[in-house]
Structure formats: C-alpha cells, structure tokens
Amino acid sequence: MLTFIVRRTLYMLPLLLVVSLISFMLIEIMPGDYLTKMKTNPFVTQQTIAEMAKRYGLDQPPLVRYWYWFKGILTRGDFGTSFETRRPVFYTLFEGGRLMWTFIVSLTTMFVTWAIAIPLGIYSATHKYKLSDHTLTFFGFLGLSFPAFFFALVLLWLLVGVFHVGQHGLGIGGLFDNRFIDAPWSFAKLGNFLWHIWPAWLVIGTIGMAGLLRYMRASLLDTLSLQYIQTARAKGLSERIVIYKHAVRNAINPLVSLLGLSLPNLVSGSLIAATILNLPTVERAFFSSLTAQDDYVIMGALLFFSLFLLIGNLVADILLAWVDPRIRYN
C-alpha cells in the first residue's frame, strides 16, 4: 500500500507540470495583461507603464517568463509574486485564514450533506416507488436544478426583504456579524457563525444532495436484492436489523470513494456560492486574480486546485481499499 501511495504521489509531479503548461498557455491567450487597465487612466503615461512592464517581467516573451517561473520553483521553491500585492503567490491566495475557512466551510457542508442525504437515501430505498420516495427524489433534483447564483441571491433577499433578520440584529453573508468578526471565539460567536454558515450549506449542499441520495438509494437496493439479505430475513431477523445492520453497512462502502472524489469540489466547487454569500475562500481569491490578470496567482491557484483533485482521487482509491478488503493495489 505504501509503495502504491508513494508511486502515485510521485506520479502527480509530471501531471502538475502539464497542467501548469496548459494554464500558462491560457493566461497567454488572454488579451492584454495586468497593466492594460492602467492604460486608460489619463493620469498615467505610457512610459510609466512600460517601466512597470519591465519591472514585472511582462516585457519578456512568454516562454522566457514560463522558464523563469519554473526555475524559481526548482531552485528556490518560489511560485512567483503577485503583481497586485507584491507578496508571494500562496500568501496572496491563502492570507488571513482563507485556506482554513475554505476547508471549514466545505467540510461542514460535506458533513451536513452526507448526514442528510444518507438517511434520506435509506428511507427512499426502503419506501421504493411510494409517494414519499418520489417526493424525495423530486425535491432532491429540484435542489440540483437551481442555478447556484440565483438560489443564493434569492435566499439572502428572503432573509432581508421578507424575514427582516436585521431587526433581530442578525447579519447576512460573510461568516459573522460585524461585532463578531474581530472578537475572540465564544459560544455567542460560534452561534453567530452557524447562523451565517447555514445558507452556504443549503446552497452548496443541495447541489450534491440529489446525487448522493440517488447513489445511496441505488446501492441499498442492490444490496437488498442479494442473497445474504434473504438469508437474514429467513432467519427471522427483524426488518430493522436486516436493513441497518446487514444491508446499509455494505451499501455504504461504494460511496466511500465518492468522499474522496468530492475533495476537489471542496476547494473549487463553490465559487459562485462563495461570491454571493461573501465567504472568504481561496476560489474567490482566484477569481479576483483572474479578473485582475495577476498571472502567477492564477497559475498558483490552478496548480493548487489540480493538486487537490489528484489527492482526492488518491484518497478515493485508498478509502476504497480500506473499506473493501477485496481490493488490492500493487
């Protein structure tokens, strides 16, 4: 197993290299560069812009710039400097707890999604083709069908325009109310965090909810049709024990790999929701670097997302082997 992990990890390097090349190519095709916006500022002369281009290396041909960037990584572990902040790329992406918040937001969302979808999936499977099964499926898919940006905005509007939460001293968007942002942690602050995070759970969570519910339903139905379940029933075990002790345990196994596969979504799947719900995530930093054409930050972010994708796949494989002893790598 260990050799498998080591081999897969080493194998990520060439993949990341190719991804970085593709990213760089895309950035090069993008029109203009970081300085283009300054050109329409009547107060700035073309000479100053040319000087800045030289300072930032933007006057060099693309391949040369790629090479310098690559060399910086190899020799100094330096992934480049942001044009905007003049700070290292990963500082700009992760500053001020952004990385931590990205994980907290997405892990809690994932937990909530699973905690709701799995029981509903079980319910759906045990009530197959009943009205309740259809209803669950319908609402699952309905959640999936709402474009996230629309859903998030309408949700916030409902809170403000219809429920007037402001009159109860509650804020919307972000992670905390104003008074808690810079306050030390307390139960009140935690409560306030929960108040701010549930719209994120709802908006991001509903996207994955329907899929997970359907997977769980299908997996449990498959398991229930197996012979050992019949045996268990024949032995006279109660239906509760048959389902929860025998069937569900085995039905959940294949879903474990989904857990790994959803890891990359944790860092790159909720840009739109994060933008409207005002969550401080790495993706938002990526998007603002994209609009500002802060080249090396874009590169750094794409590599980071890519790395997560690969790690997610690896974790999925490992988890699968872990829950299912029949699977062996090497």
Binding site: T45, R55, R86, R87, G173, I181
Partner: protein, 608 residues
C-alpha cells in the same frame, strides 16, 4: 502593610492615567490645528453641525485592499484607506472642490510663478507620536515620488510641461519650497499627494541606505505588515484587516482637526469597511442595517425610496450633480480603410452621428432617469466647467454645445455628404457604391454601455445608417483604443478630476490617449488641435484663475464642437444613509479622494 501596598498601587494607577492619556494624543490642541467650522454661519460648513464623540460607522466596498503603501498603490481599493491615513500638503474641499490647506498652513507663489513656498503646520505629530517636520515632506517627494527606484504613478502628475520635475527643498523645519523650471499651475493639484513618515520608511529607500535592494521600498507596507507599524497623520489608522471580510480603522489620537467647540476630530472611534463581493449584497446589507451608508445604483433607488420613512434613512438624489469622468463615442480618424478615414474626419458626419444620440432614452432606460447629458470634456464638478458663469460660479449651461436628438437633421447631414443608398439594400453607401458599415465596440459585461450602443445602433438604422455592435473584452478594447489594433468606433469612458489639466494626456495632440487621432502627434494636426494645445499650455502657466477659466471655456467649447469625442451621458450622484449618521448629507463625489464612499470621514458622527 498589605493595605499600604493597595493604597500605593491605587495611587500609582491614578497617577498613570494622565500619563497614559497624554501618550494617546496631544496634551492640548496644537496651535496650528485645523478648525473645521461645522455649523458656523457664512462658511462652507454652515449646513453641518458639531457632533458627538464615539461609536463606529460601517460602510461597504467590493474589493480587498492590495497593500498599505500609498506611493506604490494605483487602485482605489487601496487608496481609499491610504488617503485616510496619510493626508497631503493640500486637500480638496469636499464641498466646494477648491483647494484647502491641509498639512500646509498656507502657500505663496513667487519668482514668476515658478516657486511655491509652503508654510507647514507646527506642533503636529504622526500617529506614533513622532513630530512632523519639513523633512517628511522633502522625503516623500524627493526620495519616494521622484525616486526612479520607486514604482509610482504619482511621478507622472508631477512632471512639468518641459519634461523636468519640480525640486522640493527644505527652507526650515516648517517651510518647504517647490521649485519648478517653468510656471505650472496644476502642480498645486499634485500637492494632494500623500506625505509619508520619514522616520519609518527611510530605512527601505535604496538611495538613502544603499545596503537595501533597489526594489525594497516597493515591497514595504504590504498586506502582511503588522498594522501597528503603519504610521500616518490622517483621521483614522488601519487597526486590522481580514481578507474578504473587513478592514477596521481606528481614530488617530494625534489627528489635528478640531471642531469649533474644541473637540478633537474625528468624532468616530472606529470606521469599519466591510468587504462584500457584489453590489447586490451591498444593497442587502444596507437594507439589513449592517452598513450605515452606501452609494446605490440608479436601479436601487425605487427600492430604497419607499423605505425612507419606515427605516429612517435618507436617499440623497442629486440629479444636478454627476460624478467625475466622461463617457463618449470615439471614431478612429486613423482607421486603415481610407474611405472611413475620410468619413470620420468629416465634421458633418460626426455631427450627424451626434444628432443620433437619444440621450433621453439612454437616461430613462439605462439609468432609471438618474443621469444627465454630458457635453464637455471637463467634469461638471470642476470649478472650470464651461457650463458655469465664471470660475467656481453657478452652473447655467449657457455655453453648452448641444447636439439635440434629431433624426431628420442627421439624415439631412448624411445626405449632404453624399451617403445614399445606391444598391437598394436599405442602408446608405459611399458615393462609389461600397456599403457603409460601422462596428461600434464597447466592453462586454458593462450593461449600461452595451445598452447605450444598442440604442445608438437602433437609431442609426432609422436613418438607414448601418451601425453594428460588438461587445468585446475590456483589454481588447483598450488595445484598440490605444491604436494597437484597428477599429472604427468605440463607446467608453475615462475618469476625470477637478483639474482640467489632468485631461492633457487625452486632449493634447501629443497625448498618449488622444484616441481619435494619434497621427496628430506626427504632424497631421488640425486647427482645432493646435488651438487646444495652445490653450492647455496657456492655462497651465496662468495663475490667475479667472483667466484660466476663460482659457478652459474656449477649450471646452471648441473640443465639444469638433466632436473628437462624442459625449453621451453621465450618471448622477446618488447616496443613501441612515439618519443615525450625522453630517452625512454633504456626501459628494468630491469627498471621494479623501475617503471613499462619498463621505468625509472627519466630521460624520453617530447620533446617540
């Protein structure tokens, strides 16, 4: 014994209080303090009232700061903080848009207008308690803004017409001299540049300390700097920053502005800027009471207006006061196709096009009625705006150059220059029969500009002129505008300010943004352009403001008649604030340079 210790401790504590207080600010009001005449009849501030100390005001913005360095910053997301932290020698009056003395107490122009001598305020201190002297001013100009190692765009506005830079010299601890090689009135505008603390920053300047790298200063005061290390003289200093959430600023105990009652300004203890990802969430947060004031979009006004009474807020709609900047259509006089080149250089064609602009519809449909037609290259708010009676006089618009929406007139002009439909496709053609087709570009995603283009194209169709629209990426558009790619027509806007000379880069024939006619720089110059160059130079060298006004009046009229830029409309200033905030009613675009959000942070306060 124990009791004695307690008493001693208590005594020490009591004795410490005044010490602690004096360490937190001035012992007494400095002699040269700025007294803001709030509520004093006969002054610009008569309509305001002295406030009460304490409290926090929350506002919102949509992007994070990029650094805390005022010199290297070139985006408002950063300067909205640095301008509060570090004032300049002079400042724009938020109410009249004239120049007020700020760190300077007064100034004097001498030696054929080539030397400006600034008397500095005495007894002022930086936010860390260090005294402020002429050395800080000389350092800021000579070692930062005018230092080739330092990356700054302020250097550009300091450049004199002859290519030289002014020299800033120390006369004594509280007097500095700005020496120019030629008389240059707009240099006063550049004296709004932020003054930075020498004692804090000197160590990072390669010129003064050769041991540090040449690029060192450009990295200083980044976002990872401990806010305690940031030093300034402004109303507020940054206390903390949480990316994507907020920037907290706390009052500077050494601020040198006082109200007439002798209360030190600012009134507020804290000023918090929430970072919000979109304008819509900003509106929601405002409706929800989380932020106290904000500048709504025109479309938000019908939502906020009905809530005025119930939520106790004020929506300030000043249709007479558009913001800074210009919006226009430009035709490329240097386009590759000679037929179009000739056409665009024909004043009658440009006039025909100007008569096609249905500005009323644009204002009604795109700005919900909250915009004004624009005709001049100079901002409405500028004291030099030609719509005024005299320098800084009331706006009468009697000099306005207006091309009213008139399809018949446009059609007649097009007929007159020989554009007729010869091939029967319903659209006008050149005299030789080639069809006329003009592609109008603007940046994709800007709904109001896209909308204006669609309206223009639709009207052109009514006079059988084929105008198509293509909405392209902003950067591609800029490349076209800069003359790096060919184009026919572009709809775009430029930022502006109160000083018309800031448009020199655009309107002078040699300007880097002389977008309609770059070939003017290489000798292909028109009579109008010659005169504009002349007037610009005359106005720059003249210190008699009434004469300057006359120069700029002619400048505006001939530029507008010549239609290099065909001006369209400009959004009116709208603002909204909860009535719990005092003195917010003077919010205006003028206040923007000294603190974003249209508010003047000095004297707003929270009513108890």
């Amino acid at each position: 014994m124990k009791r004695l210790i307690v008493i001693l401790a208590a005594l020490t504590a009591i004795l410490m209080i005044p010490v602690a207080v004096s360490a937190q600010g001035y012992d007494k009001q400095p002699a040269d303090a700025v007294i803001v005449p709030l509520g004093v009849a006969g002054t610009d501030y008569a309509a305001l009232e002295p406030g009460v100390r304490g409290g926090t005001v929350y506002v919102g913005t949509i992007s994070n700061p990029k650094k805390w360095n005022a010199v290297t910053a070139h985006e408002t997301s950063t300067t909205q903080y640095t301008n509060i932290m570090q004032p300049g020698l002079v400042n724009l009056n938020p109410i009249t848009a004239g120049y007020d003395p700020e760190l300077a107490k007064s100034w004097e122009v001498s030696d054929e207008n080539k030397v400006i001598t600034f008397k500095l305020r005495q007894g002022l201190k930086w936010s860390d308690g260090t005294p402020f002297t002429a050395d800080d001013v000389v350092f800021s100009f000579m070692d930062l803004y005018l230092n080739e190692d330092v990356e700054t765009d302020t250097r550009d506005v300091l450049q004199l017409p002859d290519g030289n830079f002014p020299v800033v010299e120390k006369v004594d601890d509280y007097t500095v001299k700005v020496v120019c090689s030629v008389a240059f009135r707009p240099i006063l505008n550049s004296m709004t540049a932020n003054i930075l603390p020498k004692h804090k920053l000197e160590q990072f300047v390669h010129k003064l300390h050769p041991e540090v790298a040449a690029d060192a200063f450009n990295q200083v005061w980044g976002l990872d700097t401990n806010p305690k290390d940031l030093v300034g003289m402004g109303a507020f200093m940054v206390e903390s920053y949480t990316p994507d959430l907020n920037v907290v600023m706390k009052r500077n105990p050494y601020y040198y502005h006082y109200d007439p009652k002798g209360t030190q300004l600012p009134y507020l203890d804290k000023y918090v800027v929430l970072t919000v990802a979109s304008q819509d969430v900003l509106l929601l947060k405002y409706q929800n009471g989380e932020i106290d004031c904000f500048a709504p979009r025109p479309q938000d006004i019908p939502i906020l207006k009905p809530e005025e009474k119930q939520k106790n807020l004020t929506v300030l709609v000043n249709k007479e006061m558009p913001g800074f900047g210009t919006t226009w259509v430009v035709l490329n006089w240097d386009t590759q196709d000679t037929k179009y080149r000739e056409l665009f250089r024909n004043l009658k064609f440009r006039q025909a096009l100007a008569h096609l602009f249905d500005k009323d519809t644009m204002i009604r449909n795109l700005f919900n009625g909250l915009a004004v037609p624009q005709w001049s290259p100079v901002s409405y708010l500028s004291p030099y705006y030609a719509g005024r009676e005299k320098y800084a006089g009331p706006v009468t618009e009697k000099n306005a150059v207006v091309f009213p929406y008139d399809l018949e007139k446009a059609a007649a002009l097009l007929d007159e220059i020989g554009l007729k439909d010869t091939n029967g496709d319903g659209y006008r053609d050149f005299a030789d029969g080639t069809p006329v087709e003009i592609e109008l570009n603007t940046n994709a995603g800007n709904t109001t500009r896209e909308g204006a283009c669609l309206i223009i194209a639709d009207d052109a169709k009514k006079v059988n002129l084929k105008v198509t629209t293509a909405f392209i990426d902003f950067n591609v558009l800029v490349n076209r505008l800069m003359g790096q790619e060919d184009y026919k027509a572009i709809y775009l806007g430029l930022t502006g300010g109160t000083e018309p000379h800031s448009g020199a880069n655009v309107y002078m024939s040699t300007g880097g943004l002389h977008a309609w006619h770059y070939s003017a720089a290489t000798g292909d110059i028109t009579e109008v352009e010659k005169r504009v160059d002349e007037l610009t130079n005359l106005a720059a060298a003249e210190f008699d403001l009434d004469k300057v006004f006359e120069y700029y009046k002619e400048y505006q009229i001939i530029l507008s008649q010549d239609l290099g830029f065909l001006y369209t409309i400009n959004q009116a200033f709208v603002y909204s604030y909860y009535n719990r905030i005092g003195n917010a009613q003077v919010a205006s675009p003028n206040a923007t340079p000294s603190g974003n959000n249209g508010l003047t942070m000095d004297f707003i306060f929270r009513k108890s």
